[in-house]
Amino acid sequence: MSERPHDDRAQTGVDPGADDPEPSGRRTFLKLAAGAAGGAALAFAGAPFARYASGLSMEDILQRHYKELTDADKQALFARIEGQTKARYGVDVKLHDPQPIPGVRYGYALNLSVCIGCRQCSEACHKENNHDRASHNSYIRVFEMEKGRMDLARARADYDHPVPMPERTYQPVQCHHCEHPPCVDVCPVKATWKEKDGIVVVDHGWCIGCRYCEAACPYHARRFNWSAPEIPAEDINPNMGYLSNRIRPQGVMEKCTFCLHRTRVGKLPACLEACPAGARVFGNLADADSEIRWVLANKRTYVLKEEHGTEPRFYYFFST
């Protein structure tokens, strides 16, 4: 009776065919095929990481926190970002780093009696701050709600009809630059902080994109860059601030910065200039003669979610 190797294997569980001259073709083929398929699946799953990493240089990874940068560090950093922007978007830009003006604490007020919900503020922010064009992103969301209710929980920001609709109220919301910002408290890496002039800023090069601040903000003013913004070269605003409207990379948080690249040189924010109803008032809360102080002293004013104790520096008021 001839020896049949597979019978022995079945009885003892040991393969006596170690010196079998003919390896099992089917089994090996299946192993190799499965291995190749698994490798391909792994490569496919890792492709987003490869794409993400290809945009990072070693300097990006080793970049230090903004507060630790010397002037020379900043110059090198800004030059690198300008080069990356040129390579990616095809436009020459200039990164600035305006410092807070001494003796200034910014405040912003918005007149709900005249806001018509036209979203020109949101549009101006979209253009000024180099937002992604496809999603029409902006730091400002304008809410529409039933008149008299002021019920933001039932408001909608994606209305698409002529405005103002009768029996509707409109309320734009953006970062309030709170005096006690929850987003600053929860950031695990201190990538966001409140500056001397009151602006809450984000170091986009230090942010790790954990989105904890987005969860902590009571006003949902902070948003995550799920992808790098896509903007045509001719639409890019080349006048950039490192802490404000530089084109944010994928994977970091962003929010309204009171247009600090404009306001820290004394200009009005873009949203204020765009408002056709003249609803917005901006200025220095530490200046008793400023327009914002006059509004706070003479108009019915309130803030959102006062019970949270955030003390926003963005106020809403009424004409009468």
């Binding site: 029409h136 994606d158 765009a274 006059w294 509004v295 004409s319």
Partner: protein
């Protein structure tokens, strides 16, 4: 009720939405005259700033002695008159000054309302409350307007006329809380441009029209939830052809 902003500037119409040209600085068109009302605004503003009653708070800065840039308010139209709808070879609108005709033609004293005009200005629409023509106009001097005190103001100072009845808006305007602005919040660093009343408010027919808003955002988290579906059932959704649903006290159309 909300009133959409109407702009007087050429070429801008409500249906396009408003780009903020109404708040912008000089258009660059040669037919606008730059009018410096720094003294007017500055003087009144300074007088009113401390009368608002805001006490100096701890932490307030001292008022700066640095020289301040000007706040400019320009008239929307260089000359007083009505636009013919035609344009000259530079593209500027051709305006017929009031005195062109009224130097020869006197005013018909029997006409008090715009509807009564039968020979000229036919079709003029005046929907400004209960005002009549002579509430503001001052025949035979059509380049001036009369105030309730009997004093007249030239066209360049017509904001004072508006401010008589709309004194609350005028006070808000002087304090920067009405009418918007462009330029610098910090006047020690740069100038500022303000609107004239009639940039946004048409004197004869001031009622605002609806505008089309800028495009809505389309990012994650803003999709309509079921809560929104229930809440806005049948109201906020776009109807066919993008028309807004009929609302309003008489269910009538929007103008």
């Amino acid at each position: 009720m909300r009133r959409p902003v109407q702009t007087q500037r050429e070429g801008l119409h409500a249906a396009e939405g408003l780009r903020g040209q109404g708040v912008g600085g000089p258009t660059g068109a040669g037919w606008t005259r730059l009018l410096l009302l720094t003294v007017w605004i500055g003087g009144l503003g300074a007088g009113c700033a401390n009368s608002g009653g805001e006490a100096a708070a701890p932490g307030d800065i001292q008022a700066s002695d640095a020289p301040r840039f000007a706040t400019e308010v320009e008239l929307p139209q260089r000359d007083l008159g009505f636009r013919t709808g035609k344009f000259d070879r530079d593209g500027h609108p051709v305006i017929v000054g009031c005195v062109t005709c009224h130097r020869l033609i006197g005013a018909n004293k029997d006409n008090t309302l715009a509807e009564q005009l039968s020979r000229f200005h036919v079709g003029a629409k005046v929907t400004h409350g209960n005002l009549t023509c002579r509430s503001c106009h001052n025949p035979p001097r059509y380049d001036e307007f009369k105030l309730v005190t009997g004093r007249t103001v030239p066209y360049a100072e017509v904001m004072e006329l508006c401010g008589q009845c709309h004194s609350r808006q005028r006070a808000d305007y002087e304090h920067g809380a009405h009418g918007g602005m462009a330029g610098y919040w910090d006047l020690t660093r740069g100038p500022r441009q303000r609107n004239h009343c009639i940039h946004c408010h048409r004197p004869h027919d001031p009622r605002f029209r609806q505008v089309r808003p800028a495009p809505r955002p389309r990012y994650r988290g803003l999709e309509e939830s079921t809560v929104h579906q229930e809440q806005w059932h049948g109201e906020g959704k776009l109807h066919a052809h993008g028309q807004a649903p009929a609302h309003g006290p008489k269910g009538g159309s929007h103008e």
